[in-house]
């Protein structure tokens, strides 16, 4: 496929790809414009062309991946020959270009469904959807205006990359064949099935938020503030289901494959996909209230939250891809100065949404004018001021709209005992929680906003002597590191209130309810919840200061129980209506599981080695355990033994056996293997700590074991009198370029998980000389000092001058100054302690120190005394270890997460419930339309 100057380069694909991207952009733009003019048929055709072009672009890119065309920069960056092709999907959306294409893929598919529905809203809804597509297409254009690049070209060739232009190899005719036979490859951390399923789910969720958004805009545009709700409702709940699933998948991924020891870290990337979901949930519930009402409840909020959900998706894109987060997130990458474009994208749709909030053409034009003025500031580089001014304009507009266009459209008389009132309260609480999370996550953005005002703030701060203003003027606020202080302390009470609302509201009827009926059912559910909570409090020993979490546990149990009661007593048999309460049960269980498993997590690997290098009393972060190979240590309710390591491909696995601490009982005839020898029990007995104690009395040696005997034999390991339970194999994935990453291994059981991961392990063999001696370690000793070399305890007992009688046999001359240092070595072998003495010499002859290397036979240690200072009586020693005696060791952390399976059960129920609800909603809509 080579044409022109270069051989082995698929230039045709590059041309075709770029043409298709341009076609996608123009057809989307054309479709939007046609729909504005009301030319439905043309608009439809244009959109279908756009969808086709997008799918072809994706197809071409996949073609390049499968054909390993490394002359293309995108392929080179995310693929290499070593990578198994089942991860090609992960590689496809490994970069920004692929991410946008994935988003566009889903967006097109959803839009095609909207086209199929072909309702009266189509022209306006499609205008919005086509505009969104046009903006997304711009992100793939990769056109240069001077120095400024618009979008990122997915078909960029390596030789065209700005950093490579002008390099000598770009002129070589067959450069592609010579230099690009392999690529850089995808970060190994991303080469797993999670990376294949999580991004598509998440992006489908993001795409889904744009449909209700488009309907809301259409409604505002048309002047009909309510009619758009009914057709948009199934889409909203579809979004809730899919996006929620996507967010939870992220948590499951973190738990299963990452080693930060949990499933949620309140990291900006996590938060920015959670927040749109929360706002969508609020919007969807408000839409649900208002779909058929003559006089709506909280109509402005309904419209506004619906718009906000999609805008927050754009904000999320901005936060995570523009690099604005800087040092606050390990996920923040800066790629090709994309910040201004993402900002323009976000601000444009912000403006669009707020324009339509206004009712008259005049007001809209004024708004557009002001917004464009503010946008211009973006182009001259004043991003912070522009955005700030822009936001002020939008805020004012929203307020005007609320007071003006939406005046008197909402019901003021909703009864306190009505479903709509409490759903509104619940939705509001969810949005407040979302605002708090956004606030906390956006601290780096606030720093950018404060920057232009740094001068004035500083002066005013000095004048009023205000610390507050002075801190602001430094525009360097950092998010607090303690999650309890920054997130939990606010989210937990809010969540408690929300779940109380979930519990109560399911029983309330629209317009009002009989208090007696509701109270009875709720009381029953509350009792159930109280019993569960009290049981938990006792079993898991909750302290008084943990009251907020206990309250949340009660609230979630209450919500789950209440909704379960509802299904059982009211909806029995009417499976169609189970969706909503089931989803709420699921949501409640999810949070219940999350709280109990993290609040009562138990780090059983607390360090037991003494404080040899203790620092401050403040610092007591001993959560890791050092395990030497073959050693057995107690960890929580287990004895653990690090047995061996083995390598498989790019992974190094560390096998750790877990034993019970209760003494094992052996019966006559049991067969065990100890130190590769087989023994048969001759009595019934309980095991001692060491095999040697039991061997004579209780065991018969089997010199010629049969195959069956060998197969039946259990291992007998010193220090583990208890029964063998299981083996965990946490691993480290080796990657030279990106850094090694540890992967956990978890033991799942019904009531808890035991999660273990490697904190440190030696991955490169230590450097030795020709004879296998490791480089010398220099230390200082005084009489009485002791120190560990590997597992040997070395102590200096005494130092004496060599007696004259002994000099000749040690090869010493009379004029030599000679001191002998008496060391004691203590080690362990086969469960017993062994001792030996070593006596290296320190010889000074004619003012020269004669080196005397003393090899301790059989111990794999040798020393040399380098210097002796008689004034402070310190000895300087160099010690070498032989690799044969150096034992392998690892540092691990193990955590028990109680009741974590409730979390996953909740996720499953929530997903099932949401989809049942969507399906029944679609069915209802179809029936009422016919």
């Amino acid at each position: 496929m080579s044409i022109g100057a270069f051989e082995g380069e698929w230039i045709i694909v590059a041309w075709a790809g770029r043409f298709l991207v341009a076609l996608a952009f123009t057809s989307a733009l054309f479709s939007a414009l046609s729909y504005i003019k009301g030319w439905k048929e043309i608009g439809r055709r244009a959109f279908k062309v756009h969808a086709g072009a997008t799918f072809l672009v994706i197809g071409l890119l996949f073609l390049l991946f499968f054909a390993h065309r490394y002359e293309f920069q995108y392929i080179w960056k995310h693929l290499n020959n070593e990578m198994p092709m089942r991860f090609v999907m992960s590689a496809f959306w490994g970069g920004q270009e692929g991410g946008f294409l994935l988003w566009m893929f889903w967006h097109n598919i959803l839009a095609l469904f909207v086209l199929r529905a072909a309702d009266r809203w189509e022209p306006k809804v499609m205008t919005v959807l086509a505009s969104i597509e046009a903006f997304l297409s711009i992100m793939l254009l990769g056109i240069y205006f001077g120095d400024f690049q618009l979008g990122l070209d997915p078909f960029l060739l390596m030789r065209e990359a700005p950093e490579n232009i002008g390099l000598p190899w770009t002129g070589i005719k067959d450069y592609a064949i010579q230099f690009f036979q392999d690529g850089q490859g995808l970060n190994p951390l991303l080469q797993n099935y999670w990376m294949t399923i999580h991004p598509p789910t998440l992006f489908l969720g993001f795409a889904a938020t744009s449909i209700p958004f488009a309907y809301a805009i259409a409604g505002l545009w048309e002047g009909d503030h309510k009619g758009w709700i009914k057709p948009a409702l199934p889409w909203a709940f579809f979004g809730v289901g899919i996006l929620g699933t996507g967010v939870l998948m992220g948590g499951a991924w973190a738990y299963e494959a990452l080693s930060f020891g949990g499933f949620w870290a309140w990291d900006p990337v996590e938060n920015s996909s959670l927040v749109p979901w929360m706002v969508l949930v609020a919007a969807a519930h408000l839409m649900l209230i208002n779909k058929n009402k003559k006089k709506a409840t909280a109509l402005f909020s309904t419209v506004y939250f619906t718009l906000l959900a999609f805008l927050l998706v754009l904000y999320s894109t901005f936060l995570t891809k523009s690099g604005v987060l800087g040092d606050t997130s390990v996920h923040s990458f800066v790629d090709g100065g994309i910040l201004p474009q993402l900002l323009a994208y976000l601000l444009s749709f912000l403006a669009l949404a707020h324009t339509f909030l206004l009712g008259t053409v005049r007001r809209r034009l004024i708004h557009i004018g002001l917004s464009i003025l503010a946008l211009c500031l973006v182009f001259i580089g004043e991003y912070a001021l522009a955005t700030l001014g822009f936001l002020v304009i939008q805020g004012v507009t929203a307020t005007i709209s609320f007071r003006g266009e939406f005046k008197d459209e909402s019901n003021e008389d909703d009864s306190i005992f009505s479903r709509e009132f409490w759903m509104f309260v619940g939705a509001l609480l969810v949005v407040i929680a979302a605002i708090h999370i956004t606030w906390q996550t956006s601290i780096p953005v606030f720093n950018r906003f404060l920057e232009p005002f740094s001068g004035p703030l500083s002066s005013v701060g000095e004048y009023f002597n205000s610390d507050f203003l002075r801190t602001l003027s430094l525009h360097s606020l950092a998010p607090g590191k303690d999650l309890d202080e920054t997130y939990h302390i606010i989210q937990i009470p809010l969540a408690t209130l929300i779940f109380m609302a979930i519990a109560i509201t399911q029983w309330l009827r629209y317009k009002g309810t009989s208090a007696k009926l509701v109270a009875g059912n709720l009381f029953r559910a509350a009792i159930d919840a109280a019993i569960i909570t009290t049981a938990l409090a006792i079993v898991y020993d909750f302290q008084i200061q943990e009251f907020p979490r206990l309250a949340l546990l009660f609230a979630t149990a209450f919500a789950a129980s209440s909704n379960a009661h509802y299904i059982w007593s009211v909806l029995r048999g009417k499976m169609d209506a189970w969706g909503s309460p089931l989803a709420h049960v699921g949501f409640a269980l999810t949070i219940f599981g999350a709280v109990i498993s993290t609040a009562k997590q138990d780090v059983i690997s607390k360090n037991q080695i003494g404080d040899i290098a203790s620092l401050n009393a403040d610092f007591n972060n001993r959560s890791d355990l050092l395990l030497m190979q073959g050693d057995t240590l107690q960890m929580g309710e287990y004895y653990v033994n690090y047995r061996e390591r083995h390598e498989e491909g790019i992974h190094v696995f560390f096998s750790i056996d877990y034993f019970e601490t209760d003494v094992k009982a052996y019966n006559n005839g049991d067969i065990v293997a100890f130190d590769d020898m087989l023994f048969s029990a001759k009595t019934n007995h309980s095991a001692s700590v060491e095999f040697a104690y039991d061997m004579d009395e209780h065991w018969n040696y089997l010199p010629f074991p049969t195959k069956t005997q060998a197969a039946k034999a259990e291992r007998w390991i010193n220090g583990t009198p208890g029964e063998f339970l299981f083996t965990l194999d946490p691993s480290i994935q080796l990657n030279e370029r990106m850094g090694n990453s540890p992967e956990p291994d978890t033991r799942h059981s019904l009531t808890s998980d035991l999660y273990s991961h490697i904190k440190w392990a030696r991955l490169t063999p230590p450097e030795t000389d020709d004879e296998g001696w490791l480089g010398g370690k220099e230390t200082e000793f005084m009489v009485g000092d002791s120190m560990f070399i590997g597992s040997v305890l070395l102590s200096l007992d005494s130092m004496t001058v060599v007696r004259d009688e002994d000099r000749p046999e040690r090869g010493l001359l009379e004029r030599d100054i000679a001191i002998v240092a008496c060391f004691n070595l203590e080690g362990a072998e086969n469960g017993g302690a062994i001792n030996t003495k070593a006596s290296p010499l320190y010889i000074v002859r004619d003012n020269l120190i004669i080196p005397d290397i003393h090899d301790v036979e059989g111990w794999g240690l040798k020393f040399r005394i380098d210097n002796f200072n008689p004034t402070d009586e310190k000895l300087k020693l160099t010690i070498w270890e032989h690799e044969s005696v150096r034992t392998d060791f690892i540092v691990i952390q193990a955590i028990i997460f109680p009741l974590i399976n409730i979390l996953w059960l909740g996720c499953i129920l929530m997903a099932i419930g949401s989809f049942m609800a969507v399906r029944s909603r679609l069915r209802k809509n179809r029936l009422s339309n016919d």
Binding site: L474, S476, L477, G480, T486, I609, L615, N621, G739, W760
Partner: protein
């Protein structure tokens, strides 16, 4: 007062209250000079691992202590004691953020975030078949 106005008033007050509370819990960035001037206060300091000093991690002695030197953004190099096991890929990190206090000439960090070599690393140059980063 109309009910909706009351709801708005309560909501806005709650949000402002949250904002104020959150402000109080914020940490602040500092460089080494500021951190050592205000010894004992907790700061977040960002910088780079100093390649001129060894990274010391002796798990036999203490598996939860890694010592190294970091150069902050102003160029000041200080010794750091991090109370964690040596993280994987530490020597290859592009930048690090420490959280902790300066005590007696050493920065005692309780937490560290590392930025690993970016997948979007545009600094790789290809010179006639040999790769240099």
């Amino acid at each position: 007062m109309k009910r909706s106005d009351l709801i708005i008033l309560i909501t806005v007050s709650v949000i402002i209250g949250l904002g104020i509370y959150n402000y109080a819990s914020m940490g602040s960035w500092a460089n080494f000079e500021e951190a050592f001037d205000n010894s004992g206060e907790t700061y977040s300091v960002s910088g780079f691992l100093s390649q001129d000093h060894p990274v010391v991690y002796n798990p036999e002695v203490d598996p939860g202590l890694t010592s190294f030197h970091m150069k902050d953004k102003k160029g000041k190099v200080k010794e750091v004691h991090l109370q964690l096991a040596k993280p994987q890929g530490f020597e290859q990190s592009e930048s690090i953020v420490l959280t902790g206090k300066a005590v007696d000439g050493v920065f005692h960090a309780t937490d560290m975030q590392m930025k690993c070599p970016s997948k979007y690393n545009n600094e790789k140059r290809l010179v006639l078949g040999t790769e240099e980063s």
